[in-house]
């Protein structure tokens, strides 16, 4: 495990050595801050019947930065090393391929978590100032943030796979953005489907992030999405490992 942590630390350091990290962080905070403000305003005008947590996690202003951020957190991880050639010195050090893939994945996921961490402060601030509860129950926080982490795990792994596929960061970003959007819009099908009983609607519910978030931010922690996100993350990471090895071996 020692080598994993050395690699992980290097990933985190290289992320925060780059100015782009702070640009992303800045715009991300601006948008999520605006989202929070919009949620409160809506509730103030008496147009909503939800809690603050639900209002925050179920708007367009939430989904927009959420979906957009993954290409930025993941496009570098493999593509840059292949392009610079440092992959050669990295992979001739006594480290396992799986350690490298996991450390890079963990590094990207860490940045994702850093991006979302300040949002917790919004709710703390709200409760301190108004003296009211931002959520109906503690389960709301647990639900919302656990599904946020789960979705982040899957989408980060998709971004890592895209980055392992190419030497070009821009191409990696486009591949991951396209795949993540496709997955997201497939999940929207459940809203278009008319009949509640149709099989297609049942199926799309399983990977519809919007449906998951609606439930989880109410504090309904359903095990089905958790199984879905964890197992598909493992699958995509496994694919990433193989793509990573395959590209090196044929180069």
């Amino acid at each position: 495990m020692g080598r994993f942590f050395i690699l992980f630390r290097r990933e985190v350091a290289s992320t925060f050595h780059q100015p782009i990290a702070y640009v992303v962080l800045f715009f991300f905070l601006v948008i999520t801050g605006f989202n929070f403000h919009a949620g409160i305003t809506m509730l103030n005008n008496g147009r909503g019947t939800t809690t603050v947590v639900e209002a925050f996690f179920n708007t367009m202003y939430f989904w927009f930065p959420f979906l957009l951020v993954f290409p930025f957190t993941t496009m570098r991880v493999f593509a840059e090393e292949s392009k610079m050639g440092t992959i050669e010195t990295l992979m001739t050090a006594p480290v396992r391929d799986s350690q490298v893939v996991l450390a890079k994945y963990a590094g990207a996921l860490f940045f994702y978590l850093v991006l979302w961490a300040p949002s917790l402060l919004y709710f703390v601030t709200f409760q301190t100032i108004t003296g009211m509860n931002a959520a109906g129950a503690a389960g709301s926080y647990i639900g919302a943030y656990s599904i946020l982490i789960m979705m982040g795990m899957l989408y980060t792994s998709i971004g890592c796979l895209a980055s392992a596929l190419t030497d070009n960061q821009i191409v990696a970003a486009m591949i991951s953005f396209a795949s993540i959007l496709t997955l997201f819009f497939l999940g929207l099908l459940s809203f278009i489907m008319p009949a509640t009983g149709s099989i297609l609607r049942e199926v799309t519910y399983y990977f519809s992030p919007i449906e998951h978030m609606v439930d989880f931010s109410r504090g309904i922690v359903d095990s089905r999405p958790l199984v879905f996100y964890i197992s598909s993350t493992l699958l995509v990471l496994f694919a990433t490992l193989h793509v990573f090895q395959y590209r090196r071996w044929k180069s």
């Binding site: 080598r3 050395i6 690699l7 290097r10 350091a13 290289s14 050595h17 780059q18 610079m84 050639g85 440092t86 992959i87 050669e88 010195t89 992979m91 001739t92 050090a93 006594p94 480290v95 396992r96 090196r248 071996w249 044929k250 180069s251």
Partner: protein
């Protein structure tokens, strides 16, 4: 230290390395010599554990490079061509990261890093960003990285490429000093470098080993078929050439004129040195002689010979 058997690498239909065998003993500096695309880098990448071979085996310090890759890599310090480095790090920070990644224990980190900084002459730039370093310094950071974990075997792919003559000399001196502690495999297409540094040379061309010997032996092998230069003022060069050809030990003679002087390039029969006969003959004819010499065969010629005169 290194044992390679029937090592082969194919990229699709293209065979980059074709069933090569060689061994390197502890403490040797072995030079890999060959034109571009001969398979030098591919062989080195396979030895370093970066590329798996299509077939064949390679062992470093008793560990198979492919089946026991992690242990083998602990014995290897590899510096790839063009020296890729993390440009967002400072020199000492980079070396610390690389050393701990390669398993240098925490209590020895400081000592190892200051050792390689000193050995590679990097103390002045220790705190500088790698992105700000000149090519020569980057090369030395690459070397420092390769040897920071005290590997038994150093694999250096073209360590002097792209440097100016001063930097080349520095890097060469550095490598020469390393021979006390490491076995070194070095690839280059600069011939004098091989003659200066290496105890043995492997000449590789089109993925095959064309020659494997000490620089002296390689030279001697062709030296026997060398030639003699005879520079004299003769009344008629053509007649003189015909006469010279009749002497013992002379195979062919070619003439080049330099004003009143004629320069004869005399190809000798193997095992013969006809210089004394030529001298006697010149005295007999009372030709004024300007030069009578047997130029040493350089590795350059050996190389041209074994690779059929292809461009370096």
């Amino acid at each position: 230290m290194v044992k390679v058997e029937k090592l082969t690498k194919k990229f699709g239909a293209n065979t980059a390395v074709d069933s090569i065998d060689f061994e390197v003993q502890k403490g040797e500096i072995v030079g890999f010599l060959g034109p571009n695309g001969a398979g030098k880098s591919t062989t080195m990448k396979m030895l370093a554990g970066f590329l798996p071979p299509t077939s064949g085996t390679a062992e470093v310090a008793g560990c198979d490079v492919f089946t026991d890759s992690l242990r083998a890599r602990e014995h290897i310090g590899y510096m790839p061509e063009n020296v890729p480095l993390y440009t967002d790090m400072r020199v000492s920070e980079f070396l610390r990261y690389r050393a701990s990644l390669k398993g240098v224990p925490g209590r020895r980190l400081r000592e190892r890093i200051s050792d390689v900084l000193e050995l590679c002459g990097l103390e002045d730039v220790e705190k500088k960003m790698i992105s700000r370093l000149s090519k020569g310094y980057r090369q030395r950071v690459g070397l420092a990285d390769a040897m920071v974990h005290e590997p038994d075997l150093l694999i250096l792919d073209e360590p002097t490429i792209g440097l100016d003559p001063n930097q080349i000399r520095l890097v060469r001196d550095l490598i020469r000093n390393l021979r006390r502690h490491h076995t070194i495999l070095i690839s280059t297409h600069i011939l004098p470098e091989v003659e200066m540094l290496c105890s043995r040379v492997i000449i590789i061309n089109k993925g095959r080993i064309e020659a494997l010997d000490t620089p002296q032996n390689l030279r001697a092998r062709l030296g026997q078929e060398g030639h003699v230069l005879f520079d004299a003022r003769v009344p008629d060069a053509r007649v003189a050439a015909a006469e010279l050809r009749k002497l013992e030990g002379v195979q062919t003679v070619s003439i080049r004129n330099d004003g009143p002087w004629s320069i004869f390039k005399i190809q000798c029969t193997p095992g013969h040195d006809p210089r004394e006969t030529i001298y006697q003959f010149a005295v007999e004819k009372s030709w004024p002689v300007r030069e009578l010499s047997r130029p040493p065969v350089s590795l350059e010629q050996v190389f041209a010979e074994v690779t059929n005169g292809e461009e370096l």
